[in-house]
């Protein structure tokens, strides 16, 4: 009898811990635009009109950005605002691809980073047809099925 009670207690505690950490972690994935705080709305302003159409996991990601935003310098915050809309329009696997490349990019030295910036400018001067051709040439990296 004592063993059954003890087991039951432990299960209840375990479930409570899960529930509680779930509450802590799943912040605002299902909040509507109106339910966001002022600060969150300010940061995510470019997404105001489409917020309610975003899937919960997409909103989760955007809220992560809003959470990190206050920790950044003004110049960086400005960049985030400018680029947020494009980012939200990218597909999940484009974003995953970008995260991987950004991770690599971080490990480069300052001069290599600026070298890459110059290369990006150069690349953008290419005609769109040429860039489309290059995109078609490259091996596919992530398909939806591979992301988990």
């Amino acid at each position: 009898m004592a063993s059954f009670q003890a087991r039951l207690k432990l299960i209840v505690v375990f479930l409570l811990c899960i529930l509680v950490s779930g509450i802590a972690l799943a912040d605002g994935a299902t909040l509507t635009w109106a339910q966001l705080s002022n600060e969150q709305q300010q940061v995510l302003n470019p997404l105001a009109s489409e917020w309610d159409t975003l899937r919960p996991w997409q909103r989760e990601k955007m809220l992560d950005i809003a959470r990190d935003y206050p920790k950044m310098s003004l110049a960086k915050q400005d960049l985030v605002q400018k680029r947020l809309t494009n980012w939200s329009r990218m597909t999940p696997y484009e974003r995953e691809n970008a995260r991987k490349n950004h991770h690599q990019f971080q490990s480069l030295s300052a001069e290599k980073k600026s070298e890459l910036r110059k290369k990006w400018m150069e690349y953008q001067q290419l005609p769109e047809s040429e860039r489309a051709r290059l995109r078609a040439e490259s091996p596919g990296t992530y398909t939806d099925a591979e992301l988990n």
Partner: protein, 200 residues
Amino acid sequence: MATSRELSDFLVAVERRAFKQTAYAVRDDHAALDIVQDAMMKLAEKYGDKPVAELPLLFQRILQNTMRDFWRRQKVRNLWTSLLSSFGSSVDGEDRDPLDTIDVEDDSDEPSVLLERRQTIKLIESALKKLPTRQREAFVLRYWEDMDVAETANIMGCSDGSVKTHCSRAVHALATELKKQGLDKLGLSRLMISNQSSGS
């Protein structure tokens, strides 16, 4: 359910050839070690409760999947890290890689049989590496790991028919390449025998 002793014995038996097979597939000894380590851990974590007879197939499947994960990461990495190397930086700062000494190259004093053996192995290895991925996988599983068709199909995630096709092509391609390099049955069996008699 497998005992820890059984798992240990199984791993001892399989680990060396698993390492080589992986190294042929990914062409990177460091990565091969990582992959084999990963696979061992996953086997223990997820399938420790399976009967010991199922371990070989499970391990091979885990190994293949882990290799595939590696390839996926590589495809993304290579495009950017090739940029790193073009700008003259090295990815890791080690001057000397202990794993590079697997095949010792100094053959000045080597007895000719050993030398011939080593060169033959190199030829076989390069013939194996030349195979298309699926053919090589099927071949290794069937002819090296002694899996039957159904087991191989299970591990590779394809049909029995595909396995047979991949195998027959692989065998043909390998045999052709080996003959082109001047290796024949007689030569190879001679090397095996000489190895056994020298007791190395």
